[in-house]
């Protein structure tokens, strides 16, 4: 029971519950976007990265092709590689742990770990948040997928509106300052301009190219948009509200 006295474990557990719970919205949106129950579960079990998962079903729901859905999900997953490099330097996992750690390397587990200063606490925070979110996210995805299938017409319940809100909710915490907001506006405009001219799903990839070009040629903070969209420790701008998680 000593483990529960570790601050990193406690933060990891509360983040797990907050994040796991909205697996419900992913599950419900997954089955109403056109995926079946097991396809929705496969995304939560195997892809396991909220942004990429919502991107995949978002493209499919909009009538986009499988390859466009895969493209959007994969591009959104790139930041997890950066987190992996940070965590590898921090935790130095060995053997099979390296492969397990990679799978649970997401916004929330990275934020929980890097928020600690003691190496033992960094390790505890990472594994508590990573494994805790993995378990709860999958349980609640299943709950959402089962109830979503029973809802009938998804539009009647505003589930397409829920998807819009989910994406804005994922974007919002990354818009700290003028520059990220300008990037978001530029990519939104590029998307609107592209929609009438290219197949569904492709406008999202065009926006990715615009964003990557801006990132490549401009000189700004190298961690722009990479601050995980959770602040488990409540920095000066957040007031200690771990339920504010966005994934």
């Amino acid at each position: 029971m000593k483990l529960l006295q570790s601050p990193a474990v406690r933060v990891g557990l509360s983040i797990s519950i907050a994040t796991g719970l909205y697996g419900i919205s992913f599950g419900a949106l997954g089955v109403t976007s056109g995926l079946d129950f097991w396809q929705t579960m496969a995304l939560s079990l195997l892809l396991f990265s909220g942004g990429s998962q919502f991107a995949f079903i978002g493209v499919v729901a909009g009538g986009g092709s499988g390859v466009a859905a895969m493209g959007a999900a994969t591009l959104l997953g790139m930041r997890n590689g950066i987190y992996g490099m940070q965590l590898n330097a921090l935790l130095q996992p060995r053997g099979w742990r390296k492969y397990a750690a990679a799978h649970v390397t997401i916004d929330e587990s990275t934020a929980t770990s890097t928020g600690q200063t003691d190496p033992a606490e960094q390790k505890r925070g990472f594994w508590t948040a990573g494994v805790g979110i993995f378990v709860l996210w999958n349980v609640f995805t299943a709950v959402g997928a089962l109830s979503g299938a029973a809802l009938g017409d998804p539009k009647q319940w505003g589930l397409d509106g829920a998807a819009v809100a989910a994406f804005l909710g994922l974007l919002w915490p990354r818009l700290k300052g003028r520059e990220p907001a300008a990037i978001a506006v530029a990519c939104a405009l590029a998307t609107i301009l592209a929609v009438p001219f290219v197949p569904a799903g492709v406008p999202i990839l065009i926006a990715a190219v615009v964003a990557a070009t801006i990132g490549w040629f401009s000189h700004g903070r190298s961690d722009e948009g990479l601050e995980p969209d959770v602040d488990p420790y409540g920095g000066p701008h957040h007031h200690g509200r771990p339920e504010e998680a966005g994934k």
Binding site: L21, G51, I82, G161, A165, I214, G225
Partner: protein
């Protein structure tokens, strides 16, 4: 079956990104340009996905109840609502507007 194939490929590539981070030499981490591109692309993709889901209807732009969902979500976020509340606000706005007769 075709969708399954792209779905599993997305899962494989998603895991590859994560694992790559643990396998590449740490010196690559010092390349600020790569992490900057990863960051700006995250912002750009999420902005694009927001717009597509709010406005696109196939290859056309539509102004329907989803605009109400976008506005409601924005207000909820300004009020610092937690993620689940933001999603519920979006769903409620779209469902409510449809009840009032706006598609």
């Amino acid at each position: 079956m075709n969708l399954w194939m792209w779905l599993l490929l997305a899962c494989l590539l998603g895991y590859s990104w994560k694992l790559l981070g643990y396998l590449v030499p740490a010196s690559l981490l010092r390349n600020p340009r790569m992490s900057r591109v990863a960051g700006t692309m995250t912002i750009g993709l999420l902005a694009s996905l927001t717009v597509v889901n709010a406005l696109a209807s196939g290859q056309a732009l539509a102004f329907d109840a989803r605009i109400g969902a976008l506005a409601a979500a924005g207000i909820a976020l300004c009020l610092r609502a937690p993620f689940l509340v933001v999603v519920l606000a979006g769903a409620g706005a779209a469902a409510g507007l449809r009840l009032l007769g706006w598609s």
